[in-house]
């Protein structure tokens, strides 16, 4: 498939790497405006308390201090932040007003000449608190009579609904067997090297707020303006700031509203760059914290008849879009399997913890983990091979497009082949022998397999599904392509990038269509006032959406060039041939207008332009998500994302039985995201995604103490795997093109992460199987593994 392309799918130097590798990235902390003042924050030490009084006198008297802002002033003069579900009383501002709801919540902001002076003064802000009851455990938060995080809301439940898709009770009644278990996903996140940072400057004459931020957020300029009670065109977000890692979490809306307010109030540029402690505790960037009560009905031949999934997700003390992370998995609720009857009960609950933010996969990886644990448990109960069970239930390649019970149609796939390729690359029979020999030698060894989906092409269907008052049915993206007088091409995109390689994407796609070398094509980021309607690089959508938009714009340029040639040759466009940017008459090589000649006509020679064609040479293309625009049915069926990438993981682990220490000895990932525009970028994403999944499954957790304090607020305790923990990873590509996209591409920004935790959990459980032990709680720390082993061997 890829051979038909000139640039797509080829190993070419990316546009971004030279800048990053040579240290020429321009990040939020590199924005140094003259006269910038710096913010430090006063954070609540209590998980739940009433603010009795705040004394700022000593802080204000400290050297270099401009102001100390508290919630009373700030909340009166700004509007609360957006809530993703229908919970208007769950108000949220950057600064607490009256009460604090988690340890680390911001209570006051100090602005001073330097960050160090601001921190000195922040220590002098005296806050008197009166402790209130608090709740950390999500099940306790659901219990009647418990402490309410937001009393005006009347409950700690932000969202709950029971969806029934298909004949669930019938499936359970007729199935030969059932099983039930709980799978628990620990509170982890994507923790970027660069914390969130933002600089804002208010121009009182132009009445314009300029914002430079480390941002990856849909509707960020709009939400900033609304919260600051400014017109949308009074906020200009500069999207050309490099972002040092995100994968979902770089939302920073509360930071931005705070800094925007301060910049406007003080009339000077103001900057807030979170330090690591603020980022981990008060940056509102924790990921899903979720348990699943799973029930599966299945026949003795391994056919899965039905599944019931109750998912309880602890979003912490406030809601942004986080409850919607229970909604996105509706689009792939049965995984890659033919399961016709599904009950899904998502419950979003608040506790006195740091708020949750979007994390890579938007809730899909925890769901995949639960489904894949269920598959292994079914196989174990039946005494059936786990791979055979999967083969039996996987959707076959002749069944696409495949409509799942919750209303989404899967576009394409060849799951059996990808699984087979991954098994082959792993040397599976030898791997089994290795495991069995290790077991004979007294070691704990296991093989894990997981087959998972990555929904891609993000639209907003879950917003409607989870909030009837929300009628967002478009999540368009756009691109502007411009050819200047010299014949050079520039692509303009309308959002920031957070490491996904969009400049490579746009230049490759435009180069492909226009048959011009992508290395010569420049790609820039418009600011938000210049940008065409765009969302942001979330939901594994940009290869599809920005790639489609860039291709659409480039096609318009190409059509214009052909039209100019046709006008000058006085022939029909059908008689012409476009090659390398030149346009000539088919079969008559001498009759040709070169790229340079065509560009000059477009820019200078109006007399040679065909009627109706604008002079100059630029084109824009706004693209709606393929299959998008639908609204949910009464029973909650809706088409979510358009495209479905597939991954099959095969992992070999050993656990030291005496210490509980796991080690991953082999890692293979079979991956099919359709046509890869840049294979190197796809592979890079996948390597990183697997490393991230290793973290979520074995190491990373935002743990809380019984007294409501974050116990893992630094990199000493929040354990991101290093190169010492991540093994060699072997990726096996496969390509099933999507019929819905420009080149057959699907998304891949979440690749690896969506299956790695499931595969590793299955491998660990396979290793524990000879002991009759199992573990279904992530992360599976050394301690947890040792305790599991000890408990089993003592029985």
């Amino acid at each position: 498939m890829t051979t038909q392309f000139r640039y797509i799918g080829k190993h070419r130097r990316t546009k971004e790497d030279p800048r990053f590798v040579t240290g020429r990235g321009r990040y939020a902390a590199d924005i140094a405006l003259p006269g910038t003042k710096h913010v430090a924050l006063v954070a609540s030490p209590h998980p739940s308390a009433r603010i009795v009084s705040i004394s700022t006198d000593a802080a204000l008297a400290a050297p270099g201090v401009l102001t100390v802002l508290t919630g009373d002033e700030f909340c009166a003069r700004t509007d609360p932040l957006y809530v993703g579900v229908d919970a208007p009383k769950v108000t949220r501002y950057a600064l607490a007003r009256g009460v604090v709801r988690y340890a680390g919540e911001w209570v006051a902001a100090v602005v001073a000449d330097t960050r160090a002076l601001a921190e000195d003064a922040a220590e002098l802000v005296e806050v008197e608190y009166e402790s209130l009851p608090f709740v950390i455990d999500p099940e306790a938060a659901l219990a009647p009579g418990t402490h309410l995080i937001h009393p005006d809301h009347g409950t700690n439940v932000l969202y709950r609904r029971k969806f029934v898709w298909g004949p669930v009770e019938e499936a359970f009644a007729k199935a030969d067997h059932q099983l039930a278990f709980r799978a628990t996903w620990g509170r982890s996140s994507t923790v970027p090297i660069e914390t969130f940072g933002v600089t804002a400057r208010w121009d009182p004459v132009a009445e314009l707020l300029d914002v430079w931020a480390s941002i990856q957020m849909p509707k960020y300029p709009d939400q900033t303006a609304r919260a600051l009670r400014l017109p949308g065109n009074a906020v200009r977000v500069h999207f050309d700031v490099d972002v040092g890692g995100s994968y979902g979490v770089k939302r920073g809306i509360k930071h931005t509203v705070l800094v925007g307010y301060l910049a406007k109030k003080l009339g000077v540029p103001v900057r807030l760059i979170e330090d690591r402690l603020e980022n981990m505790r008060g940056g509102d960037m924790h990921g899903p914290d979720r348990f699943f009560d799973m029930q599966v009905a299945f026949d003795r031949d391994g056919t899965i008849r039905g599944m019931k999934m109750r998912a309880v997700d602890d979003v912490g003390a406030y809601a942004g879009r986080s409850p919607l992370q229970l909604g996105k998995p509706v689009g792939a609720i049965c995984g890659p399997y033919q399961i016709h009857a599904i009950e899904y009960e998502p419950t979003s609950v608040m506790t006195n913890k740091t708020p949750q933010e979007a994390v890579r996969g938007f809730g899909q990886s925890p769901t995949n983990f639960a489904i894949e644990r269920a598959m292994d448990r079914v196989a174990r109960q039946l005494g059936m091979d786990r791979i055979e069970l999967r083969r039996k239930n996987l959707i076959r390649r002749d069944q696409f497009p495949y409509l799942i019970p919750s209303g989404s149609s899967y576009d394409s796939g060849d799951y059996h082949t990808v699984l087979d390729k991954a098994l082959e690359a792993s040397g599976y029979p030898a791997l089994v022998r290795m495991r069995d020999e290790a077991r004979l030698a007294g070691r704990l060894a296991g093989i894990g397999v997981a087959t998972c989906l990555e929904p891609s092409g993000g639209n907003a269907s879950f917003e409607l599904l989870f909030n009837p008052k929300n009628e967002t049915t478009t999540w368009m993206d756009s691109c502007l392509v411009r050819v200047d007088l010299s014949g050079s091409i520039t692509g303009v995109m309308g959002t920031s990038s957070s490491g996904q390689g969009h400049e490579t994407l746009v230049s490759t796609v435009v180069g492909e269509i226009l048959e011009r070398d992508p290395a010569t094509i420049r790609v820039i980021h418009a600011d938000s006032l210049n940008a065409l309607p765009s969302n942001s690089p979330v939901g594994s959508r940009m290869a599809i959406m920005l790639g489609g938009a860039a291709a659409g714009a480039a096609r318009k340029i190409r059509d214009a060039l052909v039209a100019i040639a046709a006008h000058n040759f006085e022939c029909s466009p059908e008689d012409l041939e476009y090659r390398d940017g030149n346009v000539g008459i088919k079969g008559a090589p001498s009759k040709m207008l070169s790229w340079d000649q065509l560009v000059e006509i477009a820019h200078r020679k109006f007399h040679k332009m065909p009627p109706g064609l604008d002079p100059g040479l630029q084109a824009q293309f706004v693209w709606e998500v393929p299959t998008g625009g639908g609204v949910p049915t009464q029973d909650g069926r809706v088409q979510m994302y358009p495209c479905y990438a597939f991954e099959a993981h095969v992992v070999y682990v050993e656990i030291d039985p005496d210490t509980g220490k796991p080690s991953i000895r082999k890692y293979v990932c079979g991956h099919d995201c359709g046509v890869m525009i840049s294979p190197d970028i796809v592979h890079g994403m996948t390597y990183g995604g697997i490393a991230h999944g290793i973290g979520a499954s074995l190491y990373e957790k935002f743990a809380y103490t019984e007294d409501g304090q974050l116990a893992s607020g630094t990199f000493m305790d929040y354990l991101i795997p290093s190169s010492m923990e991540v093994p060699d990873i072997h990726i096996v590509d496969h390509c099933t093109p999507s019929p819905l996209t420009t080149f057959g591409q699907k998304g891949s920004g979440e690749a690896g992460y969506l299956g790695a935790p499931a595969a590793i959990a299955n491998a660990i459980n396979d290793a524990l199987d000879p002991l009759g032990a199992s573990i279904d709680t992530l992360p599976m720390s050394h301690l947890a593994l040792w305790e599991t082993i000890t408990k089993a061997t003592k029985m």
């Binding site: 960050r115 160090a116 000195d120 220590e123 402690l277 210490t659 743990a703 893992s712 305790e787």
Partner: protein, 292 residues
């Protein structure tokens, strides 16, 4: 994460450093590699009035081979020591332990003296110092004195160093026995993290294969790194059979009183201590035996 205000002074000589310590006493923190101190200052967990920088003092950077010991200047980088082949032959346990100290990058800055004076009960070098019976030379304006490791480490992050004193050098005993073996291991969640439990052992065999000298210890199991000279003595005269090794390791674990934290309960630590102590004694035995 900006340090609270402090005065900074860079000493050009040991004498100059001692004068600052004499004058400012408790208010001073000495910085060398800064791999532990600077993050603690950035988090404002430590707030020195004065930061005394000894990085420019050449007299504190040396590795000297004496007859019975290797003397290492306090400000000698860990990576320098790690790459010293002669030292590796004389005090192999030190080299083995250094591989577990942080990462290559941190060892390029971190110093031998800094790790010893920081006295983290989980840290590798204090454990080796305890097991081998290293001697710390402490200098003040008035005099120098030598403190044995068992008296030096007085509690978590606490040592016998007086407020007016600066660690000048560490003397690591070199064993003369030909058939000497050593081993170091630890369990941490990730490589380079602070150990949940660490273990070190060094022992020598006679020509008949019997143990003639033994030392071992455990880190992360109490307020300071622990050595077990009496239990080690039980190994002497034996052929280090599995039963005696396990018994000694078990007793060492049982004698310890570790704490619990996020990553390890006391029970887990005690279990690991028994496992790791047995492993290092056996590994040291195997190494010594290979010098047949």
């Amino acid at each position: 994460m900006k340090a609270a205000p402090f005065e900074y002074v860079r000493a050009g000589s040991i004498g100059e450093a001692c004068e600052v310590l004499q004058r400012e006493g408790d208010a001073v923190k000495v910085v060398a590699g800064g791999q532990s101190l600077i993050p603690m200052m950035a988090m404002r967990l430590v707030r020195p009035g004065w930061l005394l920088d000894i990085n420019e003092i050449a007299a504190l950077k040396f590795v000297a081979m004496d007859k019975d010991a290797v003397r290492i200047g306090a400000c000698t980088r860990q990576s320098t020591v790690e790459r010293d082949q002669e030292l590796a032959a004389r005090v192999p346990l030190l080299r083995q332990a250094l591989a577990w100290v942080g990462h290559i990058q941190t060892r390029n800055r971190g110093t031998i003296g800094g790790s010893i004076v920081h006295a983290d009960p989980c840290a590798e070098l204090p454990l080796v110092a305890r097991v081998l019976g290293a001697r710390m030379v402490l200098r003040s304006t008035a005099a120098a004195r030598t403190v044995e490791a068992d008296a030096f480490f007085s509690g978590p992050m606490m040592t016998a160093t007086d407020a007016n004193e600066c660690l000048e050098e560490v003397q690591w005993p070199a064993w003369g026995e030909r058939r000497t073996g050593s081993a170091f291991t630890e369990i941490s969640n990730r490589h380079g993290d602070f150990a949940m439990v660490s273990a070190a052992a060094q022992l020598s065999l006679g020509d008949d294969g019997r143990c003639v000298r033994a030392a071992f210890g455990l880190g992360g199991m109490g307020q300071t790194p622990l050595a077990f000279p009496q239990l080690a003595q039980r190994l002497v005269g034996t052929r280090l059979e599995d039963e005696i090794v396990k018994s000694v390791a078990h007793d060492a674990a049982a004698q310890s009183d570790p704490g619990s934290d996020l990553f390890a309960t006391a029970a887990y630590r005690r279990h690991l201590a028994g496992v790791l102590a047995a492993r290092v004694i056996s590994a040291a035995h195997a190494q010594a035996g290979s010098k047949g």
